[in-house]
């Protein structure tokens, strides 16, 4: 049966446990809410930053390209007004590059035999090699520009068109190693007939540098897709210009990448999450107004939630330290719990209680050994005290018996004394008679008749017999 102390201790322990549990639950809930709020906040912040960076880049490129378009459109009017002066075309193509240093090349090209005196090929081409501007007629049997994208597409569409980046492989005349894109538009004569095309070239490097610089976070990167999904900018240079976003799907379908690619080349703007090579990525994409190309900023999860992860790491560290301390306390507490039991047991032992429970211990350390030895000591003491108590009980019983015997003997003695006293008292009368009779006889012996004498002797004999019986009785009592 529990003592009041035990009961109080138990109640206190239960209250403590409940308090700890409730406080822990409240703490965890608060921590959870704080984490969720922080995550949401950080997410909104970082994603907003990524979106802003993307918007800024797209706007910057759109504006630059728009400026190129405006410059080209202005020159187109000059060209169309001077179609009767073919040789001026060389000056115009040169002039475009002189006034637009971001452009690397300019072609003013005409349909076969448009200028009969110029033959089948007439294309006034200028190229800015960085040091100077070279100009030539680039058309020839070896360079049949009428079949090239930059000539055919605006001619067939009869409207301006941004040509996908390309690299030419001819090795005659002005050799251009750059990969570039062209803004090409048809040249019309006064009757509105397409008579040629006018193209200005902008190096892909310009886009690469501008787009690659779009890095809202340290590990984020940017890709730029052409209309056919070609990676015009990609952090992996072996894929840039050589692969499209769908290339890997030729071998193994990847629906996430394909879906992103289709959305991008369809000119959509958006945001999506996707897993690529086991990593969660946040992708923002937006098309350029002018070219139809699409740029995407790709932010790894680790970047988007870098601040949040830092907070989480700190909280984890603090929690870990707390748990470590708690564990240490728990372990130490658990380790010294036997000692506490031993203290309690010792206390009980000082109160002559040797039956307090000391559990068995399997621990091999000092505390385990102490616990086992203390238990052995307790058991030994308990046995010893048990024996002592048993012997005490025996002794007590014996003492009680002795006391009882003593009391009984004393009572018997008292009775015996009373009896003796009574007997002595009883004997005194006959003895006194005997004495008185004897004295009378001795004093009056002469004067006594024989009868009287006989009567005296009989009396003495009677009293003597009475005394003799009393003595016999006394002797009987004495034994």
């Amino acid at each position: 049966m529990k003592s009041l102390k035990d009961y109080r201790r138990s109640l206190s322990a239960r209250l403590s446990v409940w308090t700890v549990l409730v406080v822990t639950a409240i703490f965890l809930a608060a921590l959870g809410i704080m984490f969720a709020e922080s995550r949401d906040h950080v997410r909104k912040d970082t994603l907003g930053k990524a979106q802003q960076t993307l918007d800024g880049t797209v706007l910057h490129i759109d504006n630059t390209l728009r400026a190129v378009e405006v410059a080209a459109n202005n020159m187109l009017r000059v060209i169309e007004s001077n179609l009767d002066k073919p040789d001026k075309m060389f000056d115009y193509s040169r002039q475009v590059l002189e006034t637009n240093p971001e452009l690397s090349g300019c072609s003013i090209s005409f349909e076969p035999f448009y200028y009969k005196e110029k033959g089948e090929y007439f294309s006034a081409y200028s190229y800015n090699n960085g040091d100077s501007i070279e100009t030539e007629n680039e058309g020839a049997d070896y360079y049949q520009y009428h079949t090239m994208d930059w000539y055919l597409i605006p001619k067939l569409l009869n409207r301006p068109y941004w040509i996908e980046p390309f690299q030419e492989d001819d090795d005659w005349g002005i050799v251009v190693q750059d990969i570039f894109s062209s803004y090409s538009q048809p040249i019309h004569d006064k009757a509105g007939k397409v008579v040629g095309t006018f193209s200005v070239d902008i190096p892909l490097d310009w886009f690469s540098d501008t787009v690659s610089a779009t890095r809202p976070f340290p590990n984020s990167y940017t890709i730029l897709l052409g209309k056919g999904g070609t990676y015009l900018v990609h952090p992996d240079s072996t894929r840039q210009f050589y692969e499209t976003i769908f290339t890997t799907s030729l071998q193994e379908s990847d629906s996430a990448i394909e879906s992103l690619g289709r959305a991008m080349i369809a000119g959509e703007s958006g945001y999506r999450q996707m897993t690529y090579h086991g990593e969660l990525l946040h992708v923002f994409y937006k098309p350029f107004k002018n070219t139809g190309w699409s740029v995407a900023v790709i932010c790894p999860e680790s970047d988007v939630f870098a601040a949040f992860n830092q907070l989480r790491r700190t909280v984890r560290l603090v929690t870990a330290i707390g748990l470590l301390l708690l564990s240490t306390w728990f372990i130490v507490s658990r380790s010294v719990r036997p000692l506490q039991k031993l203290v309690d047991s010792t206390h009980q032992m000082t109160q002559h209680e040797f039956t307090g429970e000391i559990p068995d211990s399997t621990r091999e350390d000092e505390i385990g050994r102490l616990q086992r030895r203390f238990k052995a000591l307790q058991q030994s003491l308990s046995k010893y005290v048990g024996k002592v108590r048993q012997q005490s009980a025996v002794l007590e019983a014996r003492r009680a018996e002795l006391q009882e015997a003593y009391d009984r003997a004393k009572a018997e003695e008292h009775v015996r004394n009373a009896v003796l006293h009574q007997m002595t008292a009883d004997m005194s009368a006959p003895v006194a008679d005997i004495t008185a009779v004897s004295r009378t006889i001795c004093e009056e012996y002469q004067e006594m008749t024989d009868d009287y004498m006989d009567a005296m002797v009989d009396k003495i004999e009677k009293d003597a017999n009475q005394v003799g019986e009393m003595l016999n009785q006394l002797l009987r009592e004495a034994t």
Binding site: Y142, T147, M148, L152, I153, L156, Y161, E164, G229, Y242
Partner: protein, 315 residues
């Protein structure tokens, strides 16, 4: 040793060991920039099959901004890769060419239209063909099916197609078709017309030399063909290793392609090499296909005169 004996011994040694003659270089020009279509040639070179056969081959890739005829005139390669119909066209124009090796046994030609249209219902529409080696079958089907295509000669089909500047394009199943798939353009079955499925299975790429060159270098040409065949057989047995060699050429040539595309291309090219009848890689010009091509081209006015199997092949 007497002077006479020394003279006799020297004479015997000279007779037994003829002076080493430096092999004349044979410049071979492919029909396109570096890609898996030419894997057998690359392998024959890299594995030393040409050298072992005693031919000093130099592999060149053409500029895409011109035509084979201009290439022949300008760069004067000894051997050039042409489609069967192109070779017949050149021969009919008076340029005697002779086939020394045929690596394609089937037609890879496709007509692909935009927006799921049936290519044979695109009357009067703009159809792109390849300028350096025209897709003659586009003319044939246009004429035979009375489609009156507006033929647009281009250097590269893909951007033209994606831009919407044309309504359909000719393509090869091993190159442009794969490029279109790679561009993410949705292609339905209905929009792809495979010529070989409609009675137009005419073999394509082969290696040609001028008849005069062949007359002077018959042995080299035969050795070239033998070594090339060995190259292709090795490719068929070791496609992945062959791709490594292909990619070496691709990188060197700065071709805008990639390993994945080249792998698919090689698979298709190897399939196209298997003859429909013998089910083997025969590497030969088929008389029936020459006759069929001759008939189709003549009917469409693509040949000035009939070109016979004998004119085209080694006597």
């Amino acid at each position: 040793m007497s002077t006479i004996l020394r003279f006799i011994l020297l004479t015997v040694v000279l007779l037994l060991c003829p002076p080493k003659v430096q092999a004349e270089k044979m410049v071979f020009m492919t029909s396109w920039t570096a890609q898996a279509q030419f894997a057998g040639y690359y392998v024959a070179y890299e594995k030393g099959y040409y050298k072992e056969a005693g031919v000093d081959v130099e592999i060149r890739h053409p500029s895409l901004t011109t035509t084979p005829l201009v290439c022949l005139r300008r760069e004067q390669p000894d051997a050039i890769m042409l489609s069967l119909m192109s070779a017949m066209d050149l021969i009919s124009q008076g340029i005697p060419m002779v086939n020394i090796f045929q690596d394609s046994m089937n037609s890879s030609q496709l007509l692909i239209s935009r927006r799921d249209n049936d290519p044979l219902k695109m009357k009067g529409r703009k159809v792109a063909i390849f300028n350096p080696d025209p897709n003659y079958l586009a003319y044939v089907v246009s004429k035979k099916e009375q489609l009156n295509f507006q033929i647009i000669r281009c250097t590269s089909h893909i951007n033209l197609f994606l831009s919407g500047a044309i309504d359909a394009t000719m393509a090869t199943s091993y190159n442009e078709y794969l490029q279109l798939l790679q561009s993410g353009y949705p292609l339905s079955k209905e929009s792809v017309y495979r010529f070989s499925d409609h009675g137009y299975n005419i073999q394509e790429q082969g290696v040609y030399v001028s008849r005069s060159y062949y007359q002077d270098h018959a042995k080299e040409c035969q050795q070239f063909a033998k070594a090339t065949r060995l190259g292709w057989e090795w490719v068929a047995q070791h496609p992945e290793e062959a791709l490594e060699i292909v990619m070496k050429y691709v990188r060197s040539d700065h071709s805008a392609t990639n390993l994945t595309l080249q792998r698919r291309m090689l698979q298709e090219v190897l399939n196209l090499q298997i003859d429909a009848d013998s089910k083997k890689r025969d590497f030969r010009v088929r008389r029936d296909m020459v006759e069929k091509a001759n008939k189709l081209m003549l009917a469409c006015g693509l040949l000035k005169h009939s070109v016979t199997f004998e004119e085209l092949t080694i006597p």
